[in-house]
Amino acid sequence: MSRQRFRIKEGGKIDRARRVKFRFNGWNYTGYAGDTLASALLANGVRLVGRSFKYHRPRGIYSAGPEEPNALVQLGDGGQTVPNVRATMVELTDGLSATSVNVWPSLRFDLLSINDRVSHLLPAGFYYKTFMSPAFMWPTYENWIRRSAGLGRVPEAPDPDRYDKRHVHCDVLVVGGGPAGLMAAQAAAQAGARVIIADERAQMGGQLLASSDQIGGQAGSDWAAEVTSDLATRADCEVLTRTTAALFGDHNFVVLSQRVTGHVDAPEGNHVPRERIWKVRARQVVLATGATERPLVFPDNDRPGIMLASAAGDYVHRYGVRPGRTAVVAGNNDSIYPLASDLRAAGVRVVALADARNEPSPLAEVARADGVEILTGHAVTGTKGRMRLRGVSLAPIADDGLVSGNSARRFSCDLLCVSGGFSPTAHLLSQAGGRLTFDEKRGCLVPAHIPRGIRMAGSANGTFELAAVLAEGEAAGVAAAEAVGLTTGALPEAVVDGGHGPGAVRTLWKIVADGRKTKQFVDLHNDATTADIALAAREGYRSVEHVKRYTTTGMGPDQGKLGNVNALGVLADELGRPLNDVGTTTFRPPYTPVTFGALAGRDIGALAEPVRTTPLHAWHVRTGAKFEDVGQWKRPRYYPRGGENMAQAVARECRHVRTGVGLLDASTLGKIELKGPDVGEFLNRIYSNRFDNLPVGRCRYGLMLGEDGMVFDDGVTARLAENHWYMTTTTGGAARVHEWLEDWLQCEWPDLQVFTTSVSAQWATVTLTGPNARHVLADLVEDIDLSAEKFPHLHVREARVVGLPARIFRVSFTGELSYEINVPARYGMALWQALVRAGERFDISPFGIEALHVLRAEKGYIVVGHDTDATVTPDDLGMRRIAGDKKDYLGRRSLRRSDTAQSGRRQLVGLLPEEFVPEGAQIIDGKKLKTPVPMIGHVTSSYISTTLERPIAMALIEDGRNMVGERVRIALPFDQRVVMAEVTSPVFYDPEGSRLND
C-alpha cells in the first residue's frame, strides 16, 4: 500500500481522521474522506489513468470537475458496476474499486495504441473514404471499428439499487452554489421566497473552495459554509448538494439529478435511493453555473501531468494535494499568477510561468517576488514524456500564434497547468432558448439573449471579479424575488480580498507549429485535433455543425465542455471569419450524463405499468386461470383443468356454453351513463344507426365511426329510462370513447343537454350464457319474470340477484341465451360465487376470452381491432343496414368518397379452410407463390370450432361477398404452400338466431 506522497501536510476540506481504502486497476491505495477518486489518485502519485478514445494515447487527470475528458473509469463489479464515470466526480468510499476503460490488455500496455502510430491514416472521417471495397469485407471492418470504439462495459446483472423522483415547486431555483448562487439564494430567501439551491459538488462554495480569496475577512470557503447553513435552516429553502441541473425544459421546468448515496456520509438504510431526480417547476431561475476554464491548444497538449490551472488550485485548496513536484504554468490571463503562488505555498516548485500576453500583468509582482520566472509573450510549443509529462518547451509567440524563430526554452517538469481563459457555463441557458455571443474583450462567449424568467449571475454571465460576482448574485436574487411579488432588503455588504478574475484575455486558439508531426488536441475526449478541423474546413464541412459531426468534436460524454469554444476559435481562424459569424452549436441536454435508472425511477418491474384487475381477479387466480394482457388489464384467457392444454381447455369451455352453461367475467367492458333529454339525438349522431327511437327497457348494438368513416368502436347501449341511457364499449375503447363523447358535446354540440359519466369501474359484469342460463339465474333472481316473452333478447331489467341490486341485460356475444348481470363492484365476487354454486347442478364452467372468441366467431360477431383495422367501414363488415343513410352521423360523409364508396373493397366473410390457418395469413390471387404474390385479403380470426368440429376463419377479402361459395387460396409462405378455403357467410352457427332468442 503506497503512502500518499503528494498529500500536503495540512489544509483541504478532507477529513484526515478518516482514512479510506480503495483499489485502482488492481492496486491498493488509501485516501481520505472528502477525496474524489481523482484527488486520491493524485495524492498517491498516480498520473496515468486512462487512454484516449481513438488513438489510445496515455492520459492523466485533466480537471477537477464534471468537464473531465480523460479520467473515465469503470466503477465496481457485477450488477453495481458503473461504466464511464469521471474520476473527478467520484467521491471516495471505503472499498471503492475502479479500473481504466477502453484499454487492452492493460493501461500501460495497450495494444490499440498502434492507432497513434498510424494516425496519419486515420484523419477525421477516414472511414467515409475507405472500407468500401471489396464490399463483402465491410462487415469485418465494421466489427473491428466497433470493437475498438466504445468505453466502459455494460453491467452483467440487473441493478439492485433504487432510484427516486420527486416533483417540487419553488419561487426561485438557483443553479450553482458558488459565490453568485449563494448570494442569490440568500437574497431571495430573505425576501421570503421558496428557494431551491443546487450544486453538483459535495459542498457549496464553488471556486471559493479552490482559492485563497477572502470575503468579509474570512476565508471564502468559511463564508460559503456560513451562508449555506443559514439557508439550510430556513423552512422554505432546500439546499441540494451533489445535485446537477441536467436539463432545462419549457416554462422553467428544470431537472436536477442528485447523488444520494455513494459518499462517506450517505444516508443509511436499505430503501434509500441511489439517485434522486428532482423535477423542479420554478417561477424564476437564477443560473449561477460558473465558468469552465479552457485548455490551451498546443502540440502534444494531452500528456498525463497537464491539467487546467483551476483544477490544480482545486486539488491544492480543496483536497490538500500537490498535483506535481515541478510545475510550469502557462496561460493567457491573470488567473495563473495567484495559482503560481498557491502552488509554491503547497510545496510545488514552479520553474516558469508563460503568459501569452505581451503586457505584464499587475499581478506578476507577487509571483516574481516568489522567484517564479515569468515569460511574457510566451506559450507552450511542445511537451515531452509519454506515460507522464517530463518537460515543456516555451517560446515567444507572434500575434498570429506563430512561434517566432528558434528561441524555444525547455523546462523539465512533471506538471503543466494551463489556462486558456474561461467559458461561462451556458449549457442550461442554451437549452432554455438563450443565445450567446463572443465578447472579444473578455475572450469568451457571454449571454446575449436571456429568456424571460431566467437570470444569469457571476462568471456564468461573464463576470469574473469576485466582488462583482457577489453583487450580481445578490441583484439576481433580489430581482427574482421581486418578480414573484416579494420585496427584500439589502444584504450586508461583503468586502472582498483577492478574486481578481482573469483580467484582459489574449485569445490564442492554437499554436502554429509548422512541419511537426505532433497533435494538437481540441477535443481531448474524442481525440479531435486542429488538423482534423482544418481538414473539415478544407473539404467543405464548414458549418460548425458539420465540423462537429465530421470531426466528432464535442460529441463525447463531456459534451464539449472543454473543447467546444476552442474548436470554434480554431475553425474561425481556419475560415478567416470572426467567431460570431461561425456561430455556436446547440447544447443538448443533459448537462452531464444522467442515469437511465434515475429517469425511469420506480416505473420498472411490477410498477412498470399499472396492472388493472377486475373485482373477480382473486377468484380467477385461485382457480388457476391463465391470463392474457389486454391493454393494462389481466383477463382470464382460459381455465385449464387437470393437465389440459389451452386447446383442450378452450374446447371444453366452448362445449359448456353451447350445451350447458358458462360464466364469463366481462367487468372490463367500458360503461358510460348518459343522462339528459337530448341523449337520443346525441346517439343518433355518434352511432351510425338510429337510437332516438329505442324504447325504454331495450338495448341496441351500435357502431361508432371516426369522421373518416372507419369503424373505431362498437357496443350495446340501453335505455334505462326516458332520459337515462347506459352505453357499453369495448375494453380497450372505454377511455377513448368517453373522451370522444365529451369532445363532441363540449366543442361541437354544447347545445345538446347530455351528461356523461363513466361507470366502468362501478359495476362488476358477469355473463351467464348457455342453454341453461335461465335455469341458473331463475334460482337467484327476484322481482322479474325471466321467460323469453317477458324478458326477451335485447332487453334490460333492473332486479335483485341473490339480494343484490342488479342490472341485467339480455345481450349475447356467444350466440346462446345470455344474461349480462351487472352488480356494484363490491358485490361482484358474491354474485360470481352465487352463480357458481347455483350452476353446479348444470355443471357450470367459467370460460375465458379465448373460448369467447371461438364462440363469437362461430356466430360471425366481429371484434373491433381484431377483425378490423383503421381501414374498415360498416359496409365492409356487411353492416350497411346499421349505417343508415337517413340521418347524418359522424363519419357518414366520408363513406361517400370515391374510393371509400367503390365496390370491390375488402369485405368481411367467413372461411372454411381445409386445415387450421394462422391469423394474419394472406389470401392470394393466383396459384403461384413466386414473389411478389398478389394479395387480396387476410385472415382476421381463425379457430378450431368445437361446435362445428372443424377449422373456421373470418377474413377481409376484396369483393369477398361476391365470392361466397368460391374457393380461395391462403398462403403459408414459410411452408411454401397454400391452403384452400371456401368463402362463406361469416355466420357459421345458428344463422337464424333461434338460440339467443330462446
Partner: protein
C-alpha cells in the same frame, strides 16, 4: 471528383491530408435553374442526385436554409428497413433499401451501412396477430421477413428480459435481416458530393421565403439571397412542409410534431441488432461508436422547437429497463428532438400540388431516413417527367379526398 479509396487515403496521408479537394462546392446561386430543390436534407440531395444521374438534369440547385443534412437527416435514429404492411409502402421502402445496399459504391462514400437485422417485439396476442399479418404480407411481396420465437430472440439478444413475471412478456417478434442502420450524416454528405460532382449547385444558408407563382404556375422562388427562377420546383423540407405549403398558398393534411431521441455514453459492443417495441414505445441500437441510440414515442402537440417533453423520455427509459434491466446504470449522454411531419395515415405525400410545376415530397413522419434514396429516386422521376412515378402515384395528395389512404400506423415503431 477525387476518388475515395484506401489507396488514395494513403497517398494523401503523405501530404498530411492537405490536398483533399472540397467534397462539394459553395457556389453563388445562378439566376435561373431547370429545377430548384428546396431542402438540403437527405431526400432533397437524393432527388438532386437522381435528377442528374438518372435523368441528365444537372442545371439544378439545392437550396438549404441552414447546413445540409441539418434537419431530420442529422437527428434520427438511423434505422433502415422495408417491412411495411401494404403493397404500396413495401414497394417504395424496398426500392429504398435496395438503393441503400448499393449506395456506398454508387456515391463512392462509405455510408457505413450495417445490415445487422431489425427485430420488432410482440408483447400481446394482439401484437402477435399483427406480426403474423405483416410478416406474411412482406414475404409474399418478396421481401425478407421472419417470425421469431421468444427463444430465438433471446439467442440474438441475450440481455433481453424474457423471464416470467415481466410486465411486458415477449411472445415473439418479427425480424428483417436486411434491416439495420447507416451513418446518417454520411448519407447526406455522400449524396451532396455525388450531386455536386454532376454539376448540381448546393447552396447553403439560403432560405426560401416565398414562391413566385403566376397563373397557377410556379416560376421560381424568393430567397434570402434574392429571387431565383426555375422551370420546376420540388419541395422536400421534412418538418417544415406545412410552413412552405403556406407560402405557396395551400394547406396540407400535416401536423409537425417533435420526435425525441437520445444516445447513451459509449460502451463496448453488447447489442448487435436493431430492436423495436411498439407497445412500450422504444427502439434502440448500438452505434459503431458504442453509443446506445434510442427513440421513443412522439410528443402529441404541434411544435417546431427541437425538443420535447420529459415524460416521453421517462416512459421510454422505463420501458427500456423493463426489457433490458442491466442497462439501468448507463447514462443518457445527449438527447434531442427532430420535427416530423405527420399525415393522418402515417404515409408520405409525394407528387403534384395545386400549383403547376410545384412538387412536394413530405409527410414521412417517423420513417423518413429509411426512405431517403427511394424517395429521391421516385421524386426525381416525378419532377423530371411531370407525372408521378408508378411507385409514388399511390402517395399523391388527392388520396385524402378520395379516401384511398394507406394506413401504416402499425408500421411505425411508435404508434401515432
Amino acid at each position: 471528383m477525387t476518388r475515395y479509396s484506401a489507396l488514395n487515403l494513403w497517398r494523401h496521408s503523405r501530404q498530411g491530408h492537405t490536398q483533399w479537394p472540397e467534397a462539394w462546392g459553395s457556389p453563388e446561386p445562378k439566376s435561373d435553374y431547370d429545377v430548384i430543390i428546396v431542402g438540403g436534407g437527405g431526400h432533397g440531395l437524393a432527388t438532386a442526385h437522381y435528377l442528374a444521374k438518372n435523368h441528365g438534369i444537372t442545371n439544378v440547385a439545392v437550396l438549404e436554409k441552414g447546413w445540409i443534412g441539418g434537419g431530420n437527416t442529422g437527428r434520427n435514429t438511423t434505422i433502415l428497413r422495408s417491412n411495411y404492411l401494404w403493397d404500396e409502402s413495401a414497394a417504395l421502402y424496398e426500392l429504398s433499401l435496395k438503393l441503400y445496399e448499393g449506395l456506398s459504391k454508387d456515391l463512392n462514400y462509405n455510408i457505413m451501412l450495417s445490415q445487422r437485422g431489425v427485430i420488432n417485439l410482440a408483447h400481446t396476442e394482439h401484437e402477435m396477430r399483427e406480426v403474423s399479418r405483416r410478416v406474411n404480407a412482406i414475404r409474399l411481396n418478396g421481401i425478407d421477413s421472419e417470425i421469431l420465437t421468444p427463444e430465438q430472440i433471446k439467442e440474438m439478444v441475450p440481455i433481453l428480459n424474457t423471464g416470467p413475471g415481466g410486465r411486458y412478456p415477449v411472445l415473439g417478434g418479427a425480424l428483417q435481416r436486411r434491416g439495420g442502420v447507416a451513418r446518417h450524416d454520411a448519407v447526406a454528405w455522400g449524396l451532396a458530393r455525388a450531386a455536386d460532382s454532376r454539376g448540381v449547385d448546393i447552396i447553403q444558408n439560403c432560405e426560401v421565403t416565398g414562391f413566385n407563382i403566376r397563373s397557377g404556375q410556379v416560376e421560381g422562388v424568393e430567397t434570402t439571397l434574392g429571387p431565383i427562377s426555375a422551370k420546376k420546383v420540388g419541395v422536400v423540407v421534412a418538418g417544415h412542409a406545412g410552413v412552405l405549403a403556406d407560402l405557396a398558398g395551400f394547406r396540407l393534411p400535416i401536423e409537425s410534431h417533435p420526435l425525441q431521441a437520445l444516445v447513451s455514453e459509449p460502451l463496448k459492443p453488447f447489442f448487435n441488432v436493431v430492436l423495436m417495441s411498439g407497445t412500450v414505445h422504444v427502439y434502440l441500437s448500438q452505434s459503431d461508436r458504442g453509443e446506445l441510440v434510442m427513440g421513443a414515442g412522439m410528443d402529441t402537440y404541434n411544435s417546431y422547437a427541437q425538443r420535447g417533453s420529459l415524460p416521453i423520455i421517462e416512459q421510454m427509459l422505463g420501458a427500456c429497463l423493463e426489457l433490458f434491466p442491466v442497462l439501468s446504470r448507463l447514462k443518457v449522454m445527449r438527447m434531442w428532438g427532430g420535427i416530423v411531419d405527420i399525415c393522418p395515415d402515417a404515409s408520405p405525400i409525394i407528387g403534384k400540388t395545386p400549383v403547376d410545376n410545384l412538387f412536394f415530397n413530405c409527410g414521412w413522419g417517423t420513417g423518413g431516413f429509411k426512405a431517403t434514396p427511394g424517395s429521391g429516386y421516385v421524386f426525381a422521376d416525378t419532377i423530371a417527367k411531370g407525372e408521378p412515378h408508378a411507385l409514388a402515384a399511390p402517395f399523391s395528395l388527392d388520396r385524402f379526398s378520395t379516401g384511398a389512404l394507406i394506413d401504416e400506423h402499425g408500421a411505425a415503431a411508435v404508434a401515432h
